[in-house]
């Protein structure tokens, strides 16, 4: 007879690496990522009673949502302290660059690696790339994790990929 914690161990614990990976790429710091994941697991333990999943695969998106929210909360706290601007879908959209890829290429100062470009993407773009490419979540799951409609997931993914694609092309040309 599986106990509640046995179920937690089987369903949520196996996603520790995925949780750490997401936190690491969202926070950009190993120390912050560890804090976020530890905090997220404590929250997950608290909320687990209300979670209905039974298979190990079920816990992935559920845990990643908690990790993501924990990372955003700690970031908001840090940003409030730094008094920085909030994310703005319009402000951060790359409409000019989209229309003129060459201009964007020139605007990119040094040749950035794919990794660097990803690090510099707004969080809302970065997270969909990680959740899709590294965690293999479906659009629906990504929508649940990030709290936006599937249509927004699609457009953010597409925009993020356009930027990354330019970096990749530049990498391949420049070597």
């Amino acid at each position: 007879m599986p106990t509640e914690l046995g179920r937690f161990e089987a369903i949520v614990l196996p996603h520790l690496d995925a949780a750490y990976t997401l936190a690491r790429y969202l926070t950009g710091s190993e120390a912050d990522a560890q804090d976020v994941v530890q905090d997220a697991y404590l929250r997950a333990l608290r909320y687990f009673g209300g979670f209905r999943g039974a298979e190990p695969g079920d816990g992935r998106a559920w845990l990643l949502a908690i990790v993501r929210n924990t990372a955003f909360t700690s970031r908001r706290r840090q940003r409030a302290e730094a008094n920085a601007a909030e994310f703005d879908e319009q402000l951060h959209s790359d409409s000019v660059a989209d229309e003129h890829p060459e201009a964007a290429l020139l605007a990119t100062t040094a040749r950035e690696s794919l990794h660097q470009v990803l690090d510099h993407l707004p969080l809302e773009f970065r997270e969909v790339i990680i959740l899709r490419e590294l965690d293999g979540l479906s659009y629906k799951e990504i929508g649940e994790v990030t709290g936006v409609p599937v249509g927004t997931v699609m457009s953010r993914l597409s925009r993020a990929r356009r930027r990354l694609q330019r970096a990749l092309v530049a990498e391949q040309k420049g070597g």
Binding site: F8, A19, Y20, Q34, L42, L45, L134, S138, R161
Partner: protein, 260 residues
């Protein structure tokens, strides 16, 4: 359809999220439109490049231990009679204990289940320590460097000896976590083999006999002294490992005392 919409469709198609009828339509379009076919190709290459350059990371050991500890303490607070269910939240072990209860070996059964769990922990810890970068926290062949390194990290001061003279040089030490508590792990070498010695203060009592276990190609030795519980794990041959254990027991019996 605008170019932007088409681009979105290609992304959705590559992600396998396009509805079947739309996918068929797009596939027909890809046959004719070189630009979209090129886009599809470059998106596939991009996905591969991302997974190559932005790898899935492995959670650091310290984090892994901290998370496990959080789960463990949550289990304790939910299950007060800890002495009866030391690992009650592990379903398989609980089932095993219950089966043994049914056989009548009640106390013995719980003890065995706990021993089995500990043995698995020791083995897992040994295997994990062999992964790159996990073997030692303090690298030194000097027992007078390794022993003080544990100060402030453990609530006891583990006896540390070097057996380089016998061909078992001390390589370093590491903090580990076994049986629900931080323990000292001492690492020794023998040719290309590594030996992990785990020790922590025992529950008192008399010196216990040494027992040997072989699992997955590794040998495990365990014994208790009046002061400490010892577990030794290695892929070294049993004869050499037994000799090593004898050296360790000899020296420990002479000098070791835990902190009061």
């Amino acid at each position: 359809m605008t170019h932007g919409e088409m681009q979105l469709q290609v992304d959705t198609y590559v992600d396998g999220e396009l509805a079947p009828e739309d996918a068929r339509e797009l596939e027909a379009h890809l046959q004719e439109c070189g630009e979209c076919a090129e886009l599809r190709h470059s998106r596939i290459a991009l996905g591969a490049a991302i997974r190559r350059e932005v790898p899935v990371l492995q959670a650091p050991r310290a984090l892994r231990l901290a998370v496990r500890e959080a789960i463990r303490s949550a289990g304790e607070s939910r299950q007060p009679p800890r002495s009866l269910h030391p690992l009650g939240w592990r379903p398989a072990l609980l089932a095993a204990s219950l089966a043994l209860v049914a056989l009548g070996g009640w106390r013995l059964g719980l003890q065995r289940a706990a021993d089995g769990a500990l043995r698995d922990q020791v083995l897992a810890s040994h295997v994990r320590s062999l992964m790159p970068g996990h073997l030692t926290d303090v690298v030194s062949s000097d027992q007078h460097t390794v022993k003080p390194w544990f100060n402030g990290k453990l609530d006891f001061s583990p006896p540390v000896y070097d057996f380089a003279g016998w061909g078992y040089p001390l390589l370093g030490g590491r903090l580990d976590y076994l049986d629900g508590r931080p323990v000292a792990a001492l690492v020794y070498g023998r040719r290309q083999h590594f030996i992990n010695v785990f020790l922590w203060p025992g529950r008192g009592g008399t010196a216990g006999e040494r027992t040997t276990i072989t699992r997955q190609g590794y040998h495990l030795l365990r014994w208790t002294t009046p002061d400490y519980q010892y577990w030794v794990a290695s892929d070294l041959g049993m004869a050499e490992l037994t000799e090593f254990a004898r050296l360790l027991r000899q020296d420990d019996s002479v000098t070791a005392r835990p902190l009061p």
